[in-house]
């Protein structure tokens, strides 16, 4: 395994300059994510237009993998409907955990493929997606929820 497979330039860039960083206020839904193992914490806020995520932001603190993954996620899912977000999460999850997982239509998210060589870090990369799912699950009730990757 090579370090530059994990810390690709895209990941370093999104860690240094996270996109869509902050909170929407008001938001249609909010969820907090926490990885108790490493203390990574992040919050996802989003706005919905019908079934489409019209806007979303994240904030919190965590390692480069967790921050970059969240930043890349916000870029990737903005403007998508729930169905396609869910399909994308499945693909990202496969990318993070399975060798030879296809990454053709994942765009910049494909930069996360190096994470699978570092099993201890998979949770860092998936925390934002679990948190997004929790936010979507809360959207109808406009509630809040906390998820944990432990």
């Amino acid at each position: 395994m090579e370090l530059n497979e994990l810390y690709r330039e895209v990941i370093l860039d999104h860690n240094r300059h996270p996109r869509n960083f902050g909170r929407l206020d008001p938001a249609d839904a909010l969820a907090n994510g926490h990885n108790p193992l490493c203390g990574d914490k992040l919050t996802v806020t989003l706005s919905l237009q019908g079934d489409v995520i019209s806007d979303l932001k994240f904030d919190g603190n965590g390692c480069a993998i967790s921050v970059a993954s969240a930043s890349l996620m916000t870029e990737a899912v903005k403007g998508r409907d729930r169905g396609s977000v869910s399909a994308m999460f499945d693909k990202v999850h496969a990318l993070l955990t399975q060798a030879d997982a296809p990454s053709a239509d994942l765009g910049k998210l494909a930069a996360l493929s190096g994470v699978r060589e570092f099993p201890a870090r998979v949770k860092c990369a998936s925390l934002c997606w679990h948190t997004l799912n929790a936010a979507l699950a809360n959207a109808d009730a406009a509630g809040t929820a906390a998820v944990s990757t432990e």
Binding site: N61, V67, R121
Partner: protein, 408 residues
Amino acid sequence: MSTPYDVQRIRADFPILQQQINGRPLAYLDNGASMQRPQAVLDAVNYYETHLHSNVHRGVHTLSQLATDAFEAARERVRRYLNAASTREIVFVRGTTEAINLVAQSWGRSTLEAGDEIVISALEHHANIVPWQMACASTGAQLRVAPIEADGSLNFEQYLALLGPRTKLVAMTHISNVMGTVLPVQQIVAAARERGITTLLDGAQAVAHEPVDVRAIDCDFYAFSSHKLYGPTGIGVLYGREALLQAMPPWQGGGDMIRTVSYQSSTWNDLPYKFEAGTPHISGAVGLAAAMDYLEALGLPQVAAHEAALLAQATAALTDIDGVQIQGRAAHKGGIVSFTLAGVHPHDLGTILDHEGVAIRAGHHCAMPLMDLLGLPATARASFGCYNTPEEVDQLVRAVVRAREVFC
């Protein structure tokens, strides 16, 4: 001690250190989490398993007697290591965590009343916080936290100010697993005992790094884990003053801890067996005894001096790196250096260091309240043992510089 400290000879005793990680020589600097075992410990465990094993305190057959002898010899070894008055004061448990839980459940629940107070320090590991919170929840007692100074030392005056008529227990770490602070345990205990307050020390980070004499410290309870003393996992020790242990109720029921059992009721075995329900980790105790033999043959003062030199080297070199902030600058520290690197999360640091063959701990170190106090989500921590070398400290420092290059 006339022979100089020969770290290369010591390293040769530890087979696990003779390997490469990610193509680099392993620099094992995660001794605060768990230490490696010398061949003497591996051999002692293997000999026990190969020749001596049966259950203890039960059979009349030869192996049962041999196993019992080995187990009780280990208890005597621990007694000598701690300079306890009697083997009745040496209770084998799974580790520090179980030792503290034993005291919290048995002593705590039978002694504490609503409004009583337990004083801990701000430095504590979760293992010396959560059991007391559980005891407080069931008794109505309250937890009080003695604050620390910015350098990680205990604010002794505020500690004294917390000791009041309702204080029933002082439970503190001997050496902080995060900041490395060596607490003035003798003074802490003396102040408590003057006021009739029971004392417990979490010795997990201390017991392999400086001589521990429970009678000189004069504490009521002392807890530690074997695997932080070059011994096997799954075994540890609770030292308890005999009079206190005698008065405490058992906390787990079962075999070995009873004298008589009927369907209506039971009576308890003598100390320390009253607190050792079920078949113990016999080979673990044997391994721990071998580890104590090994460490005392090296000489604890010599090991402590060696680790102090590594700490001084690491502290100076890390301080020189732009962006490095060391957490814990107390005057009296054990071989632990926690630090952060600006712009690099400790987990990324840990991964990059691992790539360079350097094993450290990155995280909250099971001390989340202390991390909150420091305003940090995590730190990187290098911790030293008898087998670490100045070259390994150099390797650590080079890897931290490399991490800076990758991220900054």
